[in-house]
Symmetry: C2
Subunit: 339 residues, 2 copies
């Protein structure tokens, strides 16, 4: 198992990225390939890589967050992002993790790895751990702001495979994010998507309202990339806000600081609010295993994103998504869309 890590991407690159990668190599006992400026990477890893399976691949270019991602991905083949993805394409690595420009990772992956046959729109899928006992996969989290029902069906099909394998569930419960529970509720897209999911052969459990996201009612929650992005960022923003308020509270509240160092309590509440604990987002629908980590990722977030890449690789998620029959059902009422 070897996971390639873009050492140059993200607000805390390269230091925190390298730190997280080294931790992952040690903890998960996997090989890590760091792509980036070799001088810096040798310097940062020299003291710590002993006994670990660390490879350094030099990339002379970097794609900045301020660059147009499509242009940059096309014009800088020797930047860390495309170089890392090519290692996956060439079978030299089992996954790629980057905290760099989401757009650049998405377009580079699209161009280098290509779409899986039958998939119209690759999507961004994020595992959300709000519920301690029942995480769920939210798909699409932002790749496709405008969607048609057939795209949402494909997201459901891909999410189904992902969760079935990674969570080891026989028949994942698929729900459609909506503003009401009843079949006829929603905007035009969700109204049109409902019957297609109902007849998809998937274990469709109906509409899910956002207040029940963390209630363990579904394993895959399907939505368009605009809504999914807004939901993901609302959760992230609330996490930030409350972690901030908590810190303020800690300063003013007597005795609070004692409690907050209580690791048991931390893990039961605050960890779920902290995106650094999440494992990044998976690009699904491409011929390769790619994980986008948050731009603000520090070592912990990178280590967790590497864990996500490792799990997807171990469970062969990409190959299994290739086996899905994405052809549109001849009739919505009889369609069984998974082979």
């Amino acid at each position: 198992m070897n996971i390639v890590v873009d050492a140059m991407g993200g607000d805390f690159a390269p230091h925190e990225i390298v730190k997280g990668a080294l931790k992952a190599a040690q903890e998960y006992k996997i090989g890590i390939t760091l792509v980036g400026k070799k001088e810096i990477l040798h310097l940062l890893t020299a003291k710590h890589k002993k006994g670990l399976d660390i490879t350094i691949v030099d990339s002379p270019d970097v794609i900045g967050d301020e660059e147009n991602p499509i242009e940059a991905a096309a014009k800088k083949p020797n930047a860390s992002i495309p170089m890392g993805i090519r290692l996956v394409k060439d079978g030299k690595a089992d996954g790629f993790v980057s905290a760099g420009s989401t757009g650049a990772v998405f377009f580079s992956s699209y161009m280098i790895l290509g779409k899986i046959e039958g998939v119209d729109r690759p999507a961004i899928a994020t595992i959300i751990h709000l519920n301690p006992t029942s995480p769920f996969l939210l798909i699409d989290c932002g790749a496709n702001p405008n969607c048609k029902p057939k795209h949402l069906l494909q997201f459901a099909q891909m999410g189904n495979v992902y969760v079935r394998e990674v969570f080891s569930l026989k028949s994942p419960r698929i729900a459609l994010l909506n503003n009401g529970e009843e079949e006829k509720k929603g905007n035009q897209l969700s109204k049109d998507t409902y019957p297609i999911l109902k007849n998809s052969g998937l274990n469709f459990v109906g509409n899910l309202e956002a207040q029940f996201l963390s209630r363990g009612k579904a394993d895959v929650i399907v939505t368009d990339g605009f809504t999914g992005n807004v939901v993901l960022k609302t959760i992230e923003g609330l996490g930030d806000a409350f972690l901030y308020l908590r810190n303020i509270g800690q300063i003013f509240a007597r005795g609070e600081s004692n409690t907050d160092t209580n690791e048991e309590n931390r893990s039961s509440i605050w960890k779920r609010l902290d995106f650094q604990e999440a494992g990044g987002a998976s690009l699904v629908g491409l011929n390769g295993n790619v994980i986008i980590s948050h731009g603000r990722s520090q070592a912990k977030a990178i280590k967790n994103a590497i864990a996500t890449a490792k799990r997807a690789a171990e469970h062969n998620v990409v190959e299994l998504i290739k086996k899905v029959d994405f052809s549109e059902p001849a009739e919505a009422s009889t369609g069984n869309s998974e082979s």
Copy 2:
């Protein structure tokens, strides 16, 4: 000042509704009209109404949550919801509060009060207090799942008046909820709406991503009713989840229970997560002041919703929205849509 309260609506009606209404009458020194089954209401208020301005209006019917709201609103003119709204229509009260069926309140209000001239779509507007120093108004929170850019412009215009008056801001900052900051980002609706808001004459501060909702960057956040509903419910669901986890944490964590009774700490964090602290949602664009309170409202939530109704009445929000010029600008590039 007299606010009508639907004593029969909501999961905790009539006991909690009456309790909240009595508290509001006492605390805000306003008149309260309770609409509902008079025998029960006399019984519930008998011991507590001394010195308070409480009126009881008998309504023989109730609209249940399970009923079709349009049919029920039409067929039961003597249910508490339509009777209460008629008191507002007839000038006998300054606002109406209900924790009953949102659909029934919306349709009854629509039929009895009518739309303000020029408004295409009445909307649901909710003040969100996540940021201790900078609340914002989210509009639309669910009345209109499918919107056109002109509807979002009207939401912005109505939200502008609401916030200008209620928050006493000279020039509220209006933002468009989007999945990116740049002008060209978003789904088709947000891309098409951006230039219209930019040329609206309003203080449009651009796109706002959902992770910054609580950062005090805007006073009015405009979105379609599908997305707004999902955002509102995501916040509500997270609040529930973390209040639940906190209670679990309290049981297991040593010393935690001491800290949690610390009122200062509670108010700094947990109160912001609790929808009972919020003040309900305002219907805007109708010829009357109507507040929808959460179906799970207990006394505190009802008292807070009455406070919202009182503030809107004091600031004459409905009359001021009537003065807005809702005619579509002849050219988007020169339009100044507020008189």
